[in-house]
Symmetry: D2
Subunit: 376 residues, 4 copies
């Protein structure tokens, strides 16, 4: 058995490494900015190692990996340097396909949060990673962050270990369709405001930056707050799974925003329906977001996919999509409802569990297959 030789990510020829997730200007060490961000390699040799540097405060990153498409391991990474062996003693000549991903979402509340891939160690050769011919971008909230995809039904802590990309309708759907993917999501955030009426917590505000969710000096040093280069990766489909937190905000107390000294509250009418003025704030945000999405993604089909935690906003979202459609004459946009989470499919802290993510990915896969003519 040859000894392990280490390669910086930047040393590996592009055709020999596939990178999942948005990237900024830094490739070495390679930052994994979002949940689902990661790498895929196909290697010969007996062993594979991955060198990482991680940091975090409250929300430590978790990682997971697959061997030949099958889930193999999942673990917490505390701040520091890591050299993790992903497999050893395998038959050397057979190519092994390894996908290594970040489980934890871009952590807007943890400035130190960081996962950097420094080097890959192998004692064989890098082989070509089969090219993904399809690309899907998923933009979402806690559902797309996989909150509750791990954990027992009674668990209610809001901590990193319950979030994932390994049990996630988005990665499942991409895998079903043999597609490359980007995930951009944040638990608790909406298209207009967060679950708690915090109007700063909306995905559109960060969409145009590389990873607007990740702040702090070390994140900013690697360019997370810089404008994202949309030309570098043009998706075929954009799935927007937002609205769940906007809907919740109507049932939450007012939010005092220390930044502008104002108090915000989405209001219900006496009959329980949405205050029209507030509903229109969401609609304006959707119209505006669709406009931004189209600006940067000229050809992508935009599918607003919503419903895994209730479908209360169906008419609000579609009214906004129709307004956008009407004003822009852009018909390359659709609305698709995802199956709701039930007591049989729920995970921890009342979020979608494995079965809910699986159900949603089945329906979404079928939808995109037909919509995009991706018939095999």
């Amino acid at each position: 058995m040859e000894s392990i030789k280490y390669f910086e990510v930047s040393e590996i020829p592009e055709k020999n490494i596939h990178i999942f997730g948005r990237m900024g200007r830094q490739k070495q060490p390679l930052p994994l900015l979002f949940n689902g961000s990661g790498i895929e390699v196909v290697v010969t040799g007996t062993d594979l190692w991955i060198e990482l540097e991680t940091d975090s405060d409250f929300h430590e990153p978790w990682v997971a990996y697959e061997v030949n498409g099958a889930f193999m391991g999942r673990q917490m990474l505390l701040p520091g340097e890591h050299n993790i062996c992903l497999f050893r003693n395998m038959e050397p000549s057979t190519p092994k396909r390894i996908r290594f991903i970040r489980e934890l979402q871009a952590m807007s509340e943890d400035d130190r949060s960081k996962v950097l891939i420094k080097r890959i160690g192998i004692n064989g050769e890098f082989k070509e990673v089969p090219e993904y011919k399809r690309k899907i971008e998923f933009i979402g909230d806690s559902i797309t962050s996989g909150e509750g995809s791990y954990g027992a039904m009674a668990d209610v802590d809001w901590i990193a270990m319950y979030m994932s990309a390994s049990v996630n309708y988005a990665t499942f759907t991409a895998k079903n369709l043999n597609a490359d993917y980007h995930l951009i999501s944040q638990g608790g955030w909406g298209v207009y405001c967060g679950w708690d009426n915090d109007v700063r917590h909306n995905l559109p505000s960060v969409y145009e930056k590389v990873c607007g969710l990740s702040s702090g000096p070390s994140n900013e040093a690697i360019g997370t707050q810089e404008p994202y280069d949309f030309d570098s990766w043009q998706p075929d489909v954009i799935v927007v799974n937002l609205g769940t937190n906007d809907a919740t905000s109507f049932n939450q107390p007012p939010f005092y925003n220390p930044e502008d000294g104002k108090t915000y509250k989405m209001r219900l009418n006496e009959d329980g329906s949405y205050n029209r003025e507030d509903e229109l704030k969401i609609e304006d945000a959707i119209v505006s977001f669709l406009t931004v999405l189209r600006k940067h993604n000229k050809k992508a089909h935009i599918a607003w996919c919503y419903g895994m935690l209730g479908s209360d906003l169906n008419l609000t979202i579609t009214e906004a999509i129709n307004k956008y459609r009407d004003s822009s004459k852009d018909n390359n946009v659709s609305f698709f409802q995802l199956p709701n989470t039930t007591m049989e499919t729920v995970g921890s802290h009342m979020h979608p569990g494995f079965k809910s993510h699986e159900n949603a990915s089945k329906e979404l896969t079928d939808y995109l297959r037909n919509k995009m003519g991706w018939l095999e």
Copy 2:
């Protein structure tokens, strides 16, 4: 064992017989006008017989029945008088709950189509039928008519035996929710036009009559073309499952209407999107139909439930619902997408099969439970 005594439907006290489906002025013999129309009784005694008179031309009626909630039999009925034994030699003192229903939709193309229940024969006593506290009206097309719910995948004939109410998301949902139901549906029809661009084939045109679908002297003699008395049965929920045929019409050749000498065609734009003028025809029809529904059903929640054969019309339908909502200020209306039929769930002639109806009923049951607060 006592001998069988026969009772006209009109002789059975109301609390001892439950009638499913819309009724006109005639109760004796009792016409079963729609698929799912039928009766339910709870009886002691060893045997139960049902006396029927049926007629038909091309599309013979089928019937099915349940004993204590479990499917037991299903058969074709050719024109004539029938006296069918539904059970015999059962333990006499135990009450048996029997539901007997028409499988075939109201048959707009078969003027002779008729199912009349004349008498029920028992050798025990009629017991009280537990009251249904919830009421759901389903308005639909071939999906709600259960087309393809029986039959092999390769079967493509358009005949009565493939239609049913015994394998049907609507009756399944009503049973799940312990609800009384009305079904009003017609294969091939839409909310604006039929699958073949025939603008006469829209459900709104028949909704206000007892059974506007059933014509011909014998049907008219029992009042099918008379105005329906909406006060006699006010649903808690109206499920409208229409749009599938309107969507299909865009891909079909023009239709020449012999009645007005005009040709009709829903048009596609060059990019495959809907011609806006034609799309608005559907939307107008929806707004208008919602207005009619509300006029006759002041308190019902109206849920437009669509998607079992594709969801192409999601944005069209919701745009119309939102227009209605905006102009009427009526917020007691919602849109809910039903799960699509796949190759794993399809029945005959590319319509929903058993599993598709079961899936749809699960999601719809969950939706209505939450929406209506029907939590047990």
Copy 3:
């Protein structure tokens, strides 16, 4: 459309009609002696009719049928002549494959029980029925008679309508394997004695007659009590699903046999285990039955398949099989346990329901595929 022409069963060329189930010397009218007994034809034309004569006392026969492999109808037949339309108005040139079967077991307690197929009426042509290359004989008790495969969980009457061949692991397995089948079964009977210790109720006592279960002048007139001609149909596999009632007998009161004036009782030891003497009675019966089976079926693989209602007799049955194996040097025999029925899979009166029959057929199909090398 041509008018219907009727053909006696005996007039239809053998290659154009497949008969399921054991037959005696009478082919016209064709008696359907067992549950699952029936016919299969492939016909063109628009309509198909079947002329039957039936009789019964307490246990009226039920029948069911399939069109192109899909379940279509199921109904009770009271004594008399019937002319049943199985389909009408179908596309005339397309061949339709119809399977029509008896649901009710050979009824040992109802001497009048009778189902005779007299004629088939069509307005097209009989086509060749694809030949079944595999043959399976199933010998069993209430499980193989499909008791409880229809009906609600709370139903406990012991009546014909709860029995079937249309929901039955045996017919499911045969269909999965594209095999012809014979069913020979009787509810309550065992390999040594019935559930109630009645030693007359054992399948071996009737196995060598055409249909030893069916007595009475009219049955005997068609030869049910005559020796069966085993050469006429040599199965590839014999599945024996017996033992469930023998096991039950240990927990039942003694049985007084009026025929010999003796009382019979299978005894338990104080620790709940089987009295060895009585256990050996079952084993002797099994050894003897295996010997008889082999005598008449030289080449068949004999698989004792047991366990759908508990597996208490596993060691008893296998001890007997091993004794047989040891004394006969016949190794072409096996034991296979079927999955037990649970509260999730139970049907009526605590017998296997649809899901239990489906589960059992899946495991049995897999077993026979491997055992017999029936790999496609």
Copy 4:
């Protein structure tokens, strides 16, 4: 938040820590000798750490853990000292139940293989671990070692990462029944000989030692080769899942045993049946093993549970059980067939995958519930 305080396993009161798996005389550091061996604690506080020392040569140990009954993490441990954080930043006052287990079987081919738990670190309190009232011992081969429970279908390497106790019918069954468990298993071994005819590879040869599978100085130093103290843990049920490799040996080439210079081969007759002499070797081994099991476990019900990779040995195993039953008069023994693995349920290298383990645990749970009267 208080700082973490570390406790040696031996310092934790017995009621506050549950140990899964056989133990020898050493409790500190606590060796995890078998797959499924591990600990369970219930703690308050925000964080939990576990200090381990591991060693291995070719087959590195893997570990997995659960939080409140839900799978959370799984990773490889290379030789050395480890301090692993199992959770952090949780709500301090809520008790958390943590189960940490070894995934890798006792590794008979890797003398260095070792997993030692040294200390548990918490910043809260140990609470009482609810007592397990039921105890099950599982004795098996690769199936019970969870071989192939992880990995892609095409994977064929025989390496540690594909084995587990986290996806395993044995641990699933114990959890379903709320039972404590011991696992004693070895891939490739049989009750008489290994898959390759190596007669040294039989579980009975190691059963009476603490962990006879683990050799080498460091293992022996902690007493693995010493006699096991059966009085320390008396199971209610012993599940023996052996025979799969004995069956395979008939189809493998002869094995030359360097220890005695002899060649071994289980032979087939020309007709493919087992050579009777060789079959009897297996039966003798079974009778003898049952005798040993009974000697050490006076009251346990012994259930031989077999069939997840074919049921070829059903008659052989049961013949042996019946011989044992006959000679010992011990009736507290049974045979239960587990569902076979199919292409839908297979894992890697043709071993049971997740679905097969899940199916088997469902049937086994149901069986033991009924057999033992463990009705809730």
